[in-house]
């Protein structure tokens, strides 16, 4: 870890990705993620990496597919409408068991919407916006430091499971500056190690005789019996991920809680602020902040439902998309209420406090 620097989230995650060994980056400009692509344009040449501004988000995600198929750490980023355009490609990446990191700096939708922070792509990220049965590991940062840290986590998880990983950020985290400390950059030896790990499945040169097995990067299985096995194996992988990779933060969770709040990313920061104020006023409210929104940390919510807790409240910057996951976790034990803001508006701590009080 080095010195603290003050940096925008968009730039911090780019820097952290480079340190995590990302040497290929393909993307298309869009507000509010453009600082990310611009940082990559500036820095990739300095580390002998590849930066290509693709002709579109579609092209970018398919470039990612190609580079990932060669076993390299590769990333793309965009914001909401651009992420929609990547859905076919993401389904292919998932179907072909490829590691890749995709950053979504969310903005207000649907359609062209606006360019302010929002969390309206929760469904798309967690339930799979593309076709077919697949899942994308989805990390939801709530600070610039965490945004940066998630770059290396995302690459590690992507490699571990050979699966795409989203970092589901938003315009606020992308645009704001906070102090951030970076991990040490990967060394030549680390790169060799990574290449070695990927050699078994990725595309590379073959010195073997004709008709020995060559490597295919592929999601096509025209025989349904074979595809069935393939998808079942994907299913097992997703179960494995659900078992191992749930991450969350508990904030002020204790025996005195009258309410448990659930909130992720930018929204959770505001909720924390409200919780602090209420605590000072003697009202005890806890927060479960999912760090992975898929796999979803249901058990963390269940465990937090102490006897005094009368209600669970979900705070998001959308029409209530995460409510479904919370309801599944709570499983009828307590009422689940929702408060949200849409269109790029972030609720204030005061609004959150009020909503909590109303629901006590």
């Amino acid at each position: 870890m080095g010195e603290k620097v003050l940096m925008k989230g968009n730039e911090a995650v780019a820097e952290a990705a480079i340190r995590a060994g990302c040497r290929l980056y393909f993307a298309y400009p869009i507000t509010p993620q453009s600082e990310l692509i611009e940082y990559m344009a500036k820095m990739m040449p300095k580390v002998d990496g590849t930066f290509v501004q693709a002709e579109s988000e579609l092209a970018a995600i398919n470039m990612v597919y190609g580079a990932a198929g060669c076993g390299k750490r590769v990333m793309t980023s965009s914001s909401s409408p651009g992420i929609s355009l990547k859905q076919e490609g993401i389904s292919y990446i998932a179907g072909a068991n490829l590691p890749a990191v995709i950053v979504n700096v969310q903005r207000g939708g649907p359609g062209l919407g606006d360019i302010q922070p929002a969390q309206g792509d929760y469904f798309q990220a967690t339930k799979g916006g593309g076709h077919g049965d697949y899942r994308v590991i989805t990390l939801a940062p709530s600070s610039v430091q965490e945004f940066a840290d998630m770059a290396s986590l995302a690459f590690d998880l992507a490699d571990k499971y050979r699966n795409p990983v989203y970092i589901l950020s938003d315009g606020l985290l992308g645009q704001m500056m906070e102090p951030v400390e970076f991990k040490d950059a990967k060394t030549e030896k680390d790169f060799e190690e990574l290449d070695k790990q990927h050699f078994a499945w990725c595309m590379h040169s073959n010195q073997d005789e004709p008709n020995h097995h060559h490597h295919e990067i592929n999601s096509l299985e025209i025989d349904p019996k074979v595809l069935e096995k393939h998808v079942e194996k994907l299913g097992e992988k997703y179960n494995e991920i659900e078992k191992n990779e749930k991450r969350w933060e508990e904030y002020n969770i204790n025996e005195e809680n009258q309410m448990v709040c659930v909130s992720f990313g930018t929204a959770s920061r505001v909720v924390k602020s409200a919780i602090d104020t209420l605590q000072e006023a003697g009202i005890s409210v806890g927060l479960i902040r999912p760090i992975t929104v898929w796999p979803y940390p249901s058990e963390a919510i269940q465990k937090a439902l102490n006897d005094k807790v009368k209600k669970v409240m979900v705070f998001e910057l959308n029409l209530g998309q995460m409510v479904e996951d919370v309801k599944i976790a709570v499983n009828g034990k307590l009422p689940v209420e929702f408060f949200g803001k849409v269109g790029g508006i972030v609720f204030t701590p005061e609004e959150v406090q009020e909503k909590i009080k109303e629901n006590l």
Binding site: L6, I115, G171, Q175, M177, E178, T348, E350
Partner: protein
């Protein structure tokens, strides 16, 4: 202790930079900081503003709705954010561009002719540094030395000639801040 600022002005007046230098210096002094600009098509003219929070404790919400301090480089900034300054808070306004000012009794207000001061120093662009100086002089949010060091680092690369003008502007600002 937590201080929440909004710095606001026309695009090009350097409002965002005020927040950035304050946040950076505070960070170097071990504080928690956050800096959140308005962004978007406002880049084409219009106004720009930034929420800056400096705090002893981790910062939950980086959006400032009700600032302790408003630095307003033009009148529209006062019109927009002036009414939201916390009771007992502080308004630092650029007298040259704020003809109407703000009519509130429950806050402190410092009007300073920032354009004029900057012109006197010899560089119209350092008007935002005057504002930074006032904030420091008045509130001691960060130390002058930290800022100086930072500016030296920054301007060494970009434009060493500007450094002196900047430092002078800050010092002038501090004076004003201390007097008020």
């Amino acid at each position: 202790m937590k201080t929440e600022l909004i710095c606001s002005g026309f695009g090009g007046q350097g409002a965002l930079t005020i927040g950035k230098f304050l946040a950076k210096a505070a960070m170097k002094e071990g504080k928690h900081v956050s800096w959140l600009p308005s962004y978007g098509p406002e880049m084409r003219g219009g106004t720009a503003n930034v929420s800056t929070v400096i705090s002893e404790k981790p910062i939950a919400a980086p959006i400032v709705s009700f600032p302790d301090i408003l630095v307003a480089l033009n009148q529209p900034s006062i019109d927009k954010f002036g009414p939201k300054i916390k009771k007992g808070g502080l308004l630092i306004a650029n007298k040259d561009m704020c003809p109407k000012g703000l009519n509130r009794e429950d806050i402190e207000i410092i009007y300073a002719p920032m354009n004029q001061i900057a012109q006197e120093i010899g560089d119209a662009k350092v008007l935002n540094m005057v504002a930074i100086g006032i904030v420091i002089g008045k509130k001691r949010l960060v130390k002058y030395d930290t800022l100086e060091e930072d500016l030296k680092d920054f301007l060494k690369q970009k434009n060493p000639d500007l450094l002196q003008a900047n430092l002078k502007a800050i010092q002038k600002g501090i004076e004003i801040g201390e007097q008020n």
